[in-house]
């Protein structure tokens, strides 16, 4: 996959809102623009697409300038080689599904990407919908058609604007695999806007966290999830840890998978058969992690991991302390897990940085 750099220097002023972004984003895989609603992430995406004109700044992709306030450059939206997937699909109601796809295909064929109409229809599994009108489609079907239509213009960059927000919770899981696999399969990097931490944990390779019109974090997904200072957002976005690992083995009878994370083994619920060696991402919410000073006995929690307390971060105005523990059996880079414990517990157990502790993980979810 290409690793073009997208330069984003964007200043937009609305009456009640200011967006100020100055980032260079290495485009590879899926980069999430994550933040609460009103943080400016959709506005930023619209500015990249050319739907919103910044008051100042510069936007370029690998040297091709799309916007430069200083030089008076503002490339029209239809001339920017990006594919935009809208929250509400925006399929053309006067055209059939196939008509919508051909609309894009005819205008995108010149872009020279190495895939065809049939490849896209097969990959999005919409062959059975081609003859239908768009009004009769379900929300999930609409977004699959919209994704196919966007791919058919052969973009150099996919802009995905909360494509799952209008889908029922239960149907989201059906759509996520397409969003996860297709950008890589067709070799197109994606910017993915979402306020849903679970979606971001599943899809993102890198994350830009926005809050109040500013980028407050920009790093690899695991590194962003690991930061304690994400806490100010925790009300809207659940604090936790994301760990990268690989599947070691699976127990079909217990519906469990055993995952190696930097030399430490955790068990996770796993219903579907999976290949050993498969790379997985685990998400552990800080509130699902407890700490103990001695190995506990007679306890239902299966993941009990020896660790060293790395940080204690008092949360002013609350009963809580954010703790970060470094798993002590790790062979590679240190593996950190965040825990949310009460101040009372810290005092009662006499917890101090550097102390050996046991990390009790009540629940782990497989992000992918």
């Amino acid at each position: 996959m290409s690793a073009d750099v997208l330069t984003l220097q964007v200043a937009i002023d609305f009456p009640a809102f200011r967006l100020r972004v100055d980032e260079r984003v290495r485009l590879s895989g899926v980069t999430a623009l994550f933040g609460p609603s009103g943080s400016g992430k959709s506005t930023l995406l619209r500015a990249i697409a050319g739907f919103e004109r910044p008051g100042g700044g510069r936007i370029d992709l690998a040297g091709a300038v799309w916007f430069d306030a200083g030089r008076g450059i503002d490339v029209a939206a239809y001339r920017r080689p990006v594919g935009y997937m809208f929250q509400d699909a925006r399929l053309f109601p006067h055209l059939s599904v196939a008509g919508n796809l051909r609309f894009a295909d005819r205008r995108g064929r010149g872009a020279g990407a190495g895939y065809t109409y049939d490849d896209v229809v097969a990959a999005t599994e919409i062959g059975g919908l081609l003859g239908r009108g768009v009004d009769g489609l379900s929300g999930g079907e609409r977004q699959r058609v919209a994704l196919a239509r966007t791919l058919l213009i052969r973009p150099r960059l996919l802009l995905l604007d909360e494509p799952l927000a209008a889908i029922d919770r239960g149907r989201k899981a059906d759509l996520l695999p397409y969003l996860e696999q297709l950008p890589e399969r067709f070799g197109i990097p994606a910017l993915y806007v979402s306020h849903d931490i679970d979606e971001v944990a599943q899809l993102a390779d890198r994350i830009l966290v926005l809050d109040h019109g500013r980028v407050i974090h920009h790093d690899a997904a695991a590194a962003v999830f690991d930061r304690l200072d994400l806490q100010p957002l925790a009300g809207r976005f659940e604090a936790g840890s994301v760990l990268e690992g690989h599947l070691v083995r699976q127990d079909a009878r217990l519906h469990l998978g055993y995952v190696d994370v930097g030399g430490v083994e955790l068990s996770v619920p796993l219903d579907q058969p999976a290949e050993p060696g498969h790379r997985v991402r685990l998400r552990i919410r800080a509130r699902d992690v407890a700490l103990a000073t001695e190995p506990p006995h007679g306890i239902s929690i299966r993941n009990v991991l020896p660790a060293v307390l790395g940080a204690l971060d008092d949360q002013p105005g609350t009963a809580y302390v954010e703790a970060s523990a470094v798993l002590s059996r790790g062979s590679g880079a240190p593996v950190r897990i965040r825990a949310r414990v009460t101040r009372a517990a810290v005092e009662a157990l006499g917890l101090q940085v550097g102390m050996p502790v046991y990390v009790l993980v009540k629940s782990v979810s497989l992000a992918r």
Binding site: A49, Y78, R90, H94, A104, R107, R149, I153
Partner: protein
Amino acid sequence: MPDLGPLWLTAHLAAVTTVILLGLGTPLAWWLAHTRSAWRPAVEAVTALPLVLPPTVLGFYLLVMLSPNAPLGAFWVQATGSTLTFSFTGLVLASVVYSLPFMVQPLQHAFEALGRAPLEAAASLRASPLDAFFRVVVPLSARGFLTAGVLTFTHTLGEFGVVLMVGGNIPGETRVVSIAIYEHVETLRYGEAHVLAAVLLAFTFAVLLVVYGLNRRYPLRVG
């Protein structure tokens, strides 16, 4: 049997006017639907004037503007050798002004109802603004175009006051059906007036019936 010439002349005038207004009214309606210019209310008001002005007032100003003594009329005489007043061309010009709101307002409503979303979708699919207009906006605004076209056509059919002021009553040139009916009544030839009036009534009713039938779910919006 009365002379049916005025019927054909009227249909001809209405058709030419509708075609010209499709060309002029569409960009104007588009501009009104999308502009943020401070001029918009003024332009909207001017566009709506023919709806409320007495046709004689409109006709009077048009007569003054088109007369060979005025710049436009004088230019036309120089360029073509004939006058705009009391000619078919002058009638077309007057009808274009008179029927303008009937073309512009339904189209403006249709474009506003469409919103920006389909335009952004089209732009994101590499369609230039003109491409997007013909491939997306026109098909999605088809009802608006139908309404605007039919209203313009039928409204021009019924024009009387403006024609009388600007065109007079020249057979084959400016003697449209409403003028012919008026003259038949003036000269007490009621039978001939009946035939022309009935044809016009039946035709106009049939056209509106078709349009309302097509618009059952999307009512006509004028004014």
